[in-house]
Structure formats: structure tokens, C-alpha cells
Subunit: 553 residues, 2 copies
């Protein structure tokens, strides 16, 4: 018994210790901490292993479903993480990893993140966040101003008003889009007469009351998949996320959009929202936002713009015109963890009219009481960290001019890379960059020549072969770990909308140089010449030769 | 021109620098970073100002909606944050702040968070997270095992299967509850015959096809407000989140629940889900989960348990019995940023049957492709940080025994504090702790005596007065910044369900001692004796005297 209680006391002390005694300066964890502070690039280069392990192999290190009975030492866990997790993580900060929307972070974000985590505020209510509440409202105000440019007096009046919200913060673009469409849905079916609103009575009664057979969201076929998810969650159904045809430049076709809206009207389906994209995920194109705003007005629809990626283009005097019309949007999604360069977990939606959030507002007794300034009454999420502090710091430390430089050089670099691809014998540019994103594929000039003359059947065989080669190059390059471009599938009009596998490049890391881009292309060409893909290439050549011979015959 | 391009070059260099040159060791930010690593308690004590500023005053520091044109120095921003933000943040780690579910963090969480942020992985897909994917699946497996305790072989088979998900991670309990109810809704109205499922065709057609007039979620009136929000978002309507009466111990009344279910059935409203609570937000009580499981089965409803707070009680051999029946739940919400002691932003929902996520599964071409192991195909959110790394570290470094100690001492301390309140002349315990949460209010014995005999009218007057005094004490104590308890409103049965304002205490910080608790009570008693509330107390005494005189007459 004595022994038992002695152990219990020792265990209790051990538990207190982890809350009171910091890691010793010479502990593994402190050393890692210092290494990261002093030389992040070195830390990542030293610890991330380039060569990719098989997923099945990695899973073996993470297979025990039992929480260990006894505590283990911090140093043991840190060593495990370094060996098994950090070593096999993705070097997102590497300037030769140009396939992700996740890129390098400015150095100051790391220690600032530690302050944020040390403070452990919860922004759901002022009681657990105090000054973080007005800080977050200011950040929303700054981004609102970037988009809508209202007078300063307007912001003085509304920015800190407890009954308004210039926007709401959330973990990322998916929740931001969902929040915007939630507002759109609730505003489309408000309380009227005996009906107490869709938020109270639900969608079934709302549609019955208003005499509709359904409610739809329209977006180009390049729309982000989160919109389809939102249509599902909101009870509209994925069928009612209507994809609209795009032109050759991956921008929504306004005539096709208007036709679909008219069709829906005839079917008694409410046009709930029209979504414009400012920087599509796959190709970085921007929809004609002004035209979309007009069509949305025509059909009484909520006009939402998904600018999760492209929003910060507004910082650039040179390129902001590409987003012309965004200030007519009822709501706009922006992800700070993309082109505002904060860590993951910082999305937001801004509202032109800050009183629209009343349609989703909710209060409780123990939190977010009516009349309070608690942010939680208008967010989809509840407890949330103080990411606004990192956005605020980025906006002030980088400044408008700094973000402008980051945007401008990204777009310039994309244009440079597009030119390299156009001049390269092996590759074909599929989508030229409008912002800092482009796509291309393996397709030598001779094959392109054949494709312009091939029968539908031959073209399909050739494209299928090109798909296999492009996929092989992308996968092999990724596995070797020196550089990384992603891939997706597009249906180019000039190939009769055949689904083509393409390389996708996102140029957001300011450290990516022209030389790096040239090396990436060279590595891809080299992989394309390797033995293991030679069979596929011979088959391709046979098809191509067949077409060209028929042609010359 | 030359001058202009020189400036441009300098600006460009400045932008490169923030991505390549770490803060100097003697910079303000590095110093803060080191201070936090070496002495978090000291840093928080030195920088957080106890006395609360008026919200209106704080807002002045966060009022400019313009993003500054020119970059500012990191040191300037850090000084601003220290003076205006950190100084006016909430000392959530203080052992005398016992009003929040946000508490102290183990020391190792800070440097580990920095590693996580430095790696900047995005868990939406393996391409941007590699080993973080199996790590997250293991963490979900460990929590699944904590709840369901299936055989190891079962976990070996399913934990890493790409077509299954033992659970999904998200930013917090609200999204976790929403995800669970989204699954419940989609499973209740699946594809059948000509109907392609609610996820495709929407709720309107689903209800029409299945012949219902609505679909409802039932939970006790102590249910978290996120459930009402979920009912709104999912298109069911807030009216269809049906609050069920509770017994004197704040647990759902099973008979009342069954009655409501029968009523709904008669009204052709589908009983979609019954939600049990394992640790209510306000009082910490646990519903009779076994009974709820039976009723859910009876009505073919999805049985969800909101164990955002109470889930980790399962680590305690002494107290796990309080959650008996949780292993019969179809889904369970747990927040890691609560009693697993990770930073904000780590919630999850676990599924008994890992194939149910197919009802919300979604794929896209450029990400989360079919057959991939990408976590994003079954999460509500898209891009997400690698919080699983912090949960994994907590589970291994603290271990089952460590969490057991944390749980046990929290519950013991709550019982001790309850006893102190019972013995104190000024206070009345309103809800005794089942877990580590309790509520009480200002109400001296003499007033209690009067209340037992007062007319409804007198009782209302007296309770209203007690509410004002309790609210005054809570607010004043918070503003003085030495200690903090929160407040809520309850309708105790023994006061005829009159809405009583109560203090709410959450004992999750292991550093909170008996002495601190005693001091908090003493401070409250002292505030209750201050001049500024004397008028209210005289009015109270007059009412009480009136009742007691009538009684003795």
C-alpha cells in the first residue's frame, strides 16, 4: 500500500512537471526548437529524407491502436517524430516543390505562432480572447477594405459593431465557402408571413412555402470541390451544384450560365447563388466577375466569389484589374494560408453587407450571449485559435507593397516558365498562366502534329498514351524527392474535350528561381527518356507514325 | 528611372529576406521566443496585464481598415503585439482561471507546435502530408480504441484502409458534431430505387421520396448550441433540434425522450439522431448512454455522443464507468484541445462502423482521387494542419496513466470545491460535480430558507436579486484579473425552473490547488460585501425579511 501510494505520488509529480518545467536547454526538443529558429532551411534539409518510402512501409510505424499505458520520455517521442514523421514529411518550403498551394513561410511566422499557441486564446468569446476579438475584427476589416474599398467612415461605424460582421474567420476555404452559401440559402428563404425562415423550419418547408422544387448553386466546371460538398451539407444535394461550361481559357461561359439559370427557373428551381472563381485551383483562371454580377442580379441570386487563391492579387496595381467586379460580390472567400503566407488553418469569408450574418446568427446562455461582441455568434466553428494575429502581422510586416512584389514576381515567373515550356521539344503548354498557375504535359511537337490530323480513334489512343507518360513522369519525379509538380486532368477544347493528364505548377514560393524551373523541366525530360517508359513511348511512336504516314500518303 | 528600379530591387531583396533570414538572436522576437521556451509562466505573468481595459478602449488600437502601404519592422510589430494584444489577452494558463474549458498546456506542446508549423503540411492529401496521413489514422485509431475497444486484429485490418475511416479530424467539436449529423442524415435517406440519395438529390426530394414531413435530432436541453447550428446548416431547421427535458441532475429524461420520439413519428417526422452528452458544457453531467442507445435502436436513429469534454474520462479506471454505453454510439465527438491538452484547433469524430463515411465521401481530379489514401475525401474541411502530431505526442508522452491522473485529480478537486461551497455561508451549490465541472451562486443560508417558503412572486423577486448579485461578483472578479470563474444560467427544478444566474467552474488545470480555490471563494465573498452592491443587498434583505416575518407570524 505504501509502495502503491508512493508510486501514485511520483506519477502525480510527473504530471505536474510537464505543466511547470520547461524542456532543458540541452534536451532534444529544445535543440530542435533552436535549430528551427536559427536555420529552418537547414533543419528541413537535414531531416526530410528526399526518397519517398512506400505508404505501406510508413504505415507500419503508425499501426498500434493502443494508447501506451506508461508515459514515455519527451526525448524518445521527439526522436521518433524526427525519424519516422519529419523524415517522411513533404518539403513544402522547398523552392523546387512547385506543385502545391502550400509553400514557404516567412521566418517571423514561426516565433509568432509560438506566441499565439503559448497564449492559447479561444476566439469564440471575448471572455477567452479579450483583445484578440477587436484584432480579428480589424483583420476582417482590412481584407474587406482590400476588396470593397468603402470609405474609412464606414469602417469606423461598422467594424466593431456587435450586430454586424464584415466577415467571419474559419479554418479554411472550404468552411468559408460553406459559410457564404449558408448565408445565401438562409437569405433566399427568409421568414415571411406564417413562415419563420429556412433556418428555423428547414429546407423542406422553405421550398414548399416559396413554391420551389429545389435550389441551385451555379459555378463553372472548374469550381472547387468544396462547393459540391457545401451543396450536400446544406441539404440542396450535389445535383444542385450545377457545373457550367467554360471557354477555351477555363473561364465560365456567361451565355451558358444564363441559359442554365433560365432552365432552372422554368423547372421552378431557385437560383440560390452564382459563384465566380478568382483563381481556379487547377489553372488559376479568373471568371468574368462583372458579367457574373449582372447575371446574379438578373436572377436575384447571391453572388459569391471564391478568391481563396487569387484574392491577394488585389494588392498588385499591375494585376488587380484581373479581378475587376469582385467588389460587386455579396461574399468573397480568401485563404490566408495561401497567398497571405500564414500557416495552415486561416480562411475567411467577407460580406459586402455586414448585416447579412444575422441570417446565421446564433446565441446561447453560457457563451456568445445576445448583444455581446463574441465572434462565435456568427462563425460556423465554435472554439478557434487566434490565427488573426498571424494575418495581422503578415499584413503589417509585409505591407501592401510587399504582397504586391510577391504577387507580381509569381505571375512573371509563371510567364517565364510558360515560355520555357513552349520552347521545349518534349512538352506542350495546356493552359497559359493568368495568375501564377499553369499546366502542361508531355507531348513532343511531332505528336502534336499527328494529333491535329488524327481520327477520333487515333487521337484517343495517342492521348491515352500521353496520359500514361505524363503520369509516369510526375510520379517518378515526386518519388525521387528533388522536385515536385502536381498533376490534374483537364478536357482541352482543342483535343475534343478528351480528358488529358497534365502537370500543374503553382509559383508562390519567392525563392523559386529561373534555374530551378529549368532544372525541373530537364529532370522531367530525362525521366521521359528512361527505359522503364520506353515501351509506352514506342507504342506512342507507332500510333503517331501511322497517322503521319497516312497523311503524307 | 534608375532610382525607381533600384528601389524595386531593394524591395524585392527585402521580400526574399523575410523568407530566408531568420530573426537575429538578439531581436525582440527571438528574445520573446526564448523567454517562452525557458519560462512560459514568467512570460505570461510579465506580459499579461491583470486589470481589464474597456472593450471600447481596446478597439482603438485595432481600428485602421487600411493595410499599411509600406512594410514595418518585425520588431515594431512584436512590440505592438506585446503592448496591445498580449497585455490584453486572457491568462488561460493561470491556475486561478477556472471558468474556461481552455486551460494550461504541457510545456512540450509549444516546441512541438513549432515543428508542426515549420513543416507546414496540409493533411487534405498524402502529396502534401506523406507520413502525417498514417499518423493521423493512427491517432483516430487510438481514440477509436479508447471508446470501442475492438480487437487489435480489427484495427490492423481497417486502420489504414483507404475505403474506411475510423473517424475524421477537424478544427473542433462544432465541426465534429456537424460531421456526425451529416453522416446520420445521409445514412437516413440513402439511394433506393429511383432515388439517388439525399447527398445527391437534396433534403426536399429525400423527404418526399421517403414520405416524411421533416427530420429531427433529439438532445437534452443541456445540449451544446453547436447542435442547433448543425440542424440549421444541414437544412433540417433549428426547430427540428428538439430539446428534451432533464432530471434534477441535468441528465436527459428517457421517458420524455421516448414520448417525443413517438410524437414525432406520429407527425411523420423522421427521428434522425439521438444525441447523448458525456459532459455537458454547463454542468459536466453525463446522460444515461446505455438507455439512449436502446431508444435510438428502437426508433432506428443514429446514436451520437457528444463527448467533446468528457471523452478522456475513459482513461480513468475509477471514473470510466460514468460513460457506460458510449461504445454503443454510432459516432462520438472528442475535442483534443480540451482534456487531451493540445492547443486550439483539434477536434474529431469517431465512427463505430468505419464504412459509414462513404455516405459523405467526395472525390476530385486534382486531389483526393478515388482509391487514394487522402484524408480529405472524408473530412468536412479541406486544407488542414497536422494537429494529429500533437495529439499523438500527448497520448504517448502523457500515456493512459498520465491522463488518468489528470482526470482523477480534476474530479477530486471538484468534489473538494463543492464541499467548500456547501460549507460557505454566502454560497449555494447548484449542481454537484459528476465530472470536473460544478455550478453555484451567491445565496446565503437565510435567503435559501426564505426561498423555500416564499410565494412565487416573492421567490421571483429574490431570485432576480440573487442573479444581479451573482452577475456583479462574476463580472467584478473577472475585471480585476486575479481569478476567473465563468457564469451561465440554469433553471433548477427546486426553484420552479426559475432562470438562475450561476458561477460555473471547470477544474482542468492540474496546477489549481485547494488554496487557490479557497482564495477564489474568499475574493467572491469580499466582492459581495462591497459598497457598490450594498443597495441590491439591502433590497434582497428586505424581501427575505418580508418572507421570514410572514412565516414566523
Amino acid at each position: 500500500m505504501g509502495g502503491h501510494s508512493k508510486t501514485a505520488k511520483a506519477n502525480l509529480d510527473a504530471m505536474y512537471r510537464i505543466f511547470t518545467v520547461p524542456e532543458a536547454p540541452d534536451s532534444t526538443l529544445s535543440q530542435v526548437d533552436q535549430y528551427i529558429s536559427g536555420n529552418l532551411t537547414g533543419f528541413l534539409q537535414d531531416h526530410i529524407v528526399a526518397l519517398e518510402r512506400e505508404m505501406g512501409e510508413m504505415e507500419k510505424d503508425f499501426s498500434n491502436p493502443q494508447v501506451p499505458e506508461k508515459p514515455i520520455f519527451v526525448s524518445e517521442q521527439v526522436q521518433f517524430l524526427l525519424d519516422k514523421l519529419v523524415a517522411q514529411s513533404v518539403h513544402t518550403a522547398s523552392p523546387s516543390f512547385i506543385g502545391h498551394m502550400t509553400s514557404a513561410l516567412p521566418y517571423f511566422m514561426l516565433p509568432l505562432s509560438k506566441i499565439m499557441i503559448a497564449l492559447n486564446q479561444n476566439l469564440v468569446k471575448t471572455e477567452t480572447s479579450k483583445a484578440f476579438t477587436p484584432l480579428e475584427r480589424q483583420v476582417l476589416g482590412m481584407l474587406h477594405h482590400l476588396i470593397y474599398r468603402f470609405e474609412d467612415a464606414w469602417y469606423r461605424q461598422w467594424m466593431h459593431d456587435p450586430h454586424q460582421a464584415l466577415g467571419t474567420m474559419c479554418s479554411g476555404g472550404t468552411v468559408a465557402n460553406l459559410t457564404a452559401l449558408w448565408v445565401a440559402r438562409n437569405q433566399a428563404f427568409p421568414a415571411e408571413g406564417g413562415f419563420r425562415g429556412v433556418h428555423q423550419e428547414g429546407l423542406f418547408r422553405a421550398l414548399r412555402f416559396y413554391g420551389y422544387e429545389g435550389a441551385a448553386i451555379l459555378v463553372s466546371e472548374r469550381g472547387h470541390y468544396s462547393l459540391r460538398k457545401a451543396a450536400d451539407i446544406l441539404g440542396l444535394g450535389r445535383d444542385f451544384l450545377i457545373p457550367v461550361a467554360t471557354d477555351a481559357d477555363n473561364r465560365i461561359d456567361p451565355d451558358a450560365l444564363r441559359d442554365r439559370c433560365l432552365e432552372l427557373q422554368q423547372q421552378k428551381i431557385r437560383v440560390l447563388s452564382i459563384v465566380g472563381i478568382a483563381g481556379t485551383t487547377e489553372t488559376g483562371h479568373v471568371d468574368p466577375l462583372e458579367t457574373l454580377a449582372d447575371i446574379a442580379r438578373e436572377f436575384g441570386a447571391h453572388f459569391h466569389v471564391d478568391a481563396a487563391w487569387g484574392g491577394p492579387t488585389l494588392f498588385s496595381r499591375t494585376h488587380q484589374h484581373r479581378l475587376k467586379g469582385i467588389d460587386q460580390a455579396d461574399s468573397v472567400t480568401i485563404d490566408a494560408h495561401k497567398q497571405l503566407y500564414t500557416p495552415q488553418g486561416a480562411g475567411m469569408v467577407l460580406f459586402r453587407n455586414p448585416s447579412v450574418v444575422s441570417s446565421i446568427e446564433l446565441h446561447a446562455q453560457y457563451v456568445i450571449r445576445k448583444g455581446s461582441k463574441d465572434l462565435g455568434s456568427t462563425t460556423l466553428e465554435g472554439s478557434r485559435p487566434g490565427m488573426a494575429m498571424l494575418i495581422h502581422s503578415g499584413l503589417r510586416i509585409i505591407g501592401r507593397e510587399g504582397y504586391e512584389i510577391l504577387i507580381d514576381q509569381g505571375i512573371e515567373k509563371a510567364e517565364t516558365f510558360a515560355e520555357m515550356i513552349r520552347r521545349h521539344a518534349d512538352f506542350e503548354l495546356i493552359t497559359a498562366p493568368e495568375l501564377n498557375i499553369l499546366t502542361y504535359r508531355y507531348c513532343p511537337a511531332r505528336v502534336r502534329e499527328a494529333l491535329t490530323h488524327a481520327s477520333v480513334e487515333d487521337a484517343e489512343r495517342i492521348n491515352a498514351s500521353l496520359n500514361r507518360i505524363t503520369r509516369f513522369i510526375q510520379k517518378t519525379q515526386r518519388e525521387r524527392g528533388k522536385s515536385f509538380v502536381s498533376r490534374t486532368q483537364l478536357e482541352p477544347a482543342h483535343y475534343n474535350h478528351y480528358p488529358c493528364v497534365v502537370f500543374r505548377v503553382v509559383l508562390a514560393n519567392p525563392l523559386t528561381t529561373r534555374e530551378i524551373l529549368s532544372d525541373i523541366l530537364a529532370e522531367q525530360a530525362a525521366i521521359g527518356s528512361e527505359d522503364s517508359i520506353a515501351g509506352e513511348k514506342r507504342a506512342l511512336e507507332a500510333s503517331v507514325a501511322g497517322v503521319l504516314e497516312t497523311l503524307s500518303a
